[in-house]
């Protein structure tokens, strides 16, 4: 009897140890990746790296200014397109339940969330690149905007669901019209949740490469014209990392470090926003 109990307790402990070991193994690859990229990348980063454009093969030096500017422009344009639509869509779905559009909208958001990013790239190629006659940063932004949309819609919707309906009624009872109740009462109360959703979606798309392959395409030169092909950080990392040249690999490590740093920073900021701007009910 006693032996059997002991056996059970030991078994329980062993399983616990196994689970803890397995669970914490996940930190290993993350650490390895961060450390490796930091080690390889940090030596590359200097002022010239941030301000120059890449040099042709064989010449040392050069930088990623074109990719930095490009990423900024593409992601910014994508946000400008996606944030308003996403927030409004989120409001619509949280305000209207069980109507035709809401039901299909919910399914569509689920679908959109799971669409492989490369598929979005293909579709935008036919929707925008071909009609406009060439690769462009703008088409890349649209592709990224589509990737952002479901994230923003979901986070807005989830946030607004938590806001007590009594606040809305308080607004209506004061004779405030619908749009002002939503814009001036409900949205400010859910600001932290919505903002963190927006930041999260930006963090997600800032590192996206696949949808840009056939849209923004990449550009070895500096360009700020959104109707022309444009370089972006992830594209540069991909193109240079898969090239056979050692110099280009170095450039790619530097770019990868900056990309990784930006994305992780955005994630951390998202967390802080959620904590700081939370409205207490």
């Amino acid at each position: 009897m006693d032996v059997r109990l002991k056996y059970r307790v030991v078994k329980s402990k062993l399983v616990q140890v196994l689970i803890i070991m397995l669970a914490f193994t996940i930190t290993l690859p993350l650490l390895l990746i961060i450390i490796y990229i930091f080690k390889e990348g940090i030596t590359e980063i200097n002022w010239a790296f941030l301000t120059q454009i890449p040099k042709p093969v064989g010449e040392a030096g050069g930088g990623i200014a074109n990719a930095l500017a490009g990423s900024l422009i593409i992601v910014f344009t994508a946000s400008v397109i996606s944030v308003p639509i996403g927030i409004m869509g989120g409001i619509y779905f949280s305000e209207n339940k069980n109507c035709w559009l809401s039901n299909w909208g919910q399914i569509s958001v689920d679908v959109l969330q799971g669409v492989p990013s490369i598929v979005v790239g293909i579709v935008i190629y036919f929707w925008i690149v071909k009609p406009l006659g060439g690769f462009s940063a703008f088409s890349g932004s649209i592709a990224l905007a589509i990737m952002m949309l479901p994230i923003i819609i979901r986070s807005t919707e989830e946030t607004l669901k938590l806001i007590p309906s009594s606040l809305k009624e308080a607004g209506f009872a004061l004779g405030i019209p619908y749009h002002r109740v939503i814009l001036k009462i409900i949205l400010p109360c859910g600001l932290s949740g919505i903002l963190s959703g927006v930041l999260l979606s930006i963090a997600r798309i800032a590192g996206e490469t696949a949808p840009l392959l056939f849209t923004a395409f990449g550009n070895p030169y500096f360009s700020t014209d959104i109707s022309k092909p444009m370089q972006s950080l992830p594209l540069l990392v991909f193109n240079y990392a898969t090239s056979p040249y050692e110099d280009w690999h170095k450039l790619a490590w530097g770019a990868a470090l900056i990309l990784l740093f930006t994305v992780l920073l955005l994630n951390i900021i998202t967390k802080l926003t959620t904590k700081k701007w939370n409205v207490q009910f």
Binding site: P164, S166, E169, A170, G171, A173, L174, I185
Partner: protein, 252 residues
């Protein structure tokens, strides 16, 4: 008798197929307090929400009949107009958590996009808070968030917010049910003051409260208006047996 401020004519309200308010006819005259009482689920809150046109915001909720404010049917107006003239205070205090006390009082103006100059703003805030018997307690902390106040203070803040809009009718939906006895007493006292300028309708499940504060009392049962008379008559000589049963506590 003077002309009524608010009249409901053959008012019916539904939640889907549930008939929540049945053919209610009632006339309310100015500067009176009307108490609506009845067991829970009797349609008294729904009736109140019809007057403010909040009922129709619930998905699946419908209503028909007329509610006349003076002579105009509020169902012929845009709801925003009706609500500007008919203020409402809810069961649970609901100050806007993102606004401070000052802005909560003038929220009706601010959020409607009505521009007020500084003098007017301050006058309205002081006026409304004074009328709501809250001014003395909060005048030094107007820039704190409204949600820092106690429950009773929050409810008075909500009353101040409603009367700042200078409505003609003020609806209160069990305004003291979430409050302690002291806060309840101060709000009841406040209603007495307010009726000088306003017509007040209070929904309550508390019979003593109805008897204490109201001039007239309506008794609702199963969605229908059973009896409507001077408060004194209702409590001393009710005509309907159901009213009698209710006030003697035979059901609740």
């Amino acid at each position: 008798m003077e002309r009524p401020v608010l009249t409901s004519k053959k008012l019916n309200a539904y939640f889907g197929s549930v008939h929540a308010v049945k053919n209610v006819n009632i006339e309310i005259s100015a500067n009176n307090i009307l108490a609506i009482m009845g067991p829970s689920g009797c349609g008294k809150t729904t009736f109140l929400r019809c007057i403010n046109r909040l009922h129709e915001l619930t998905p699946g909720a419908t209503s028909n009949g007329k509610i006349l404010l003076h002579d105009k049917n509020i169902y012929d107006m845009h709801p925003v107009f009706a609500r500007l003239k008919i203020g409402m205070v809810f069961q649970r205090p609901n100050p806007f958590p993102n606004l401070n006390i000052f802005d909560n009082v003038i929220a009706g103006y601010k959020l409607n996009g009505l521009k007020l100059n500084k003098v007017n703003k301050e006058r309205i805030v002081e006026d409304s808070l004074t009328k709501a018997a809250l001014w003395k307690e909060v005048k030094d902390s107007l820039h704190k968030k409204g949600t820092f106040l106690s429950g009773g203070q929050q409810q008075r803040l909500c009353i101040a917010r409603a009367i700042a809009m200078e409505p003609e009718v003020l609806l209160l939906d069990e305004p003291t049910s979430a409050l302690d006895p002291v806060s309840t007493a101060s709000i009841e006292e406040l209603l007495h003051e307010l009726k000088k300028n306003l017509t007040i309708i209070v929904v309550t499940h508390n019979m003593q409260q109805a008897a204490r504060i109201s001039d007239r009392t309506a008794f609702f049962y199963m969605g229908a208006l059973i009896e409507y008379d001077n408060t004194k008559n209702i409590f001393t000589s009710p005509k309907d047996t159901r009213t009698q049963n209710y006030i003697t506590g035979r059901f609740s």
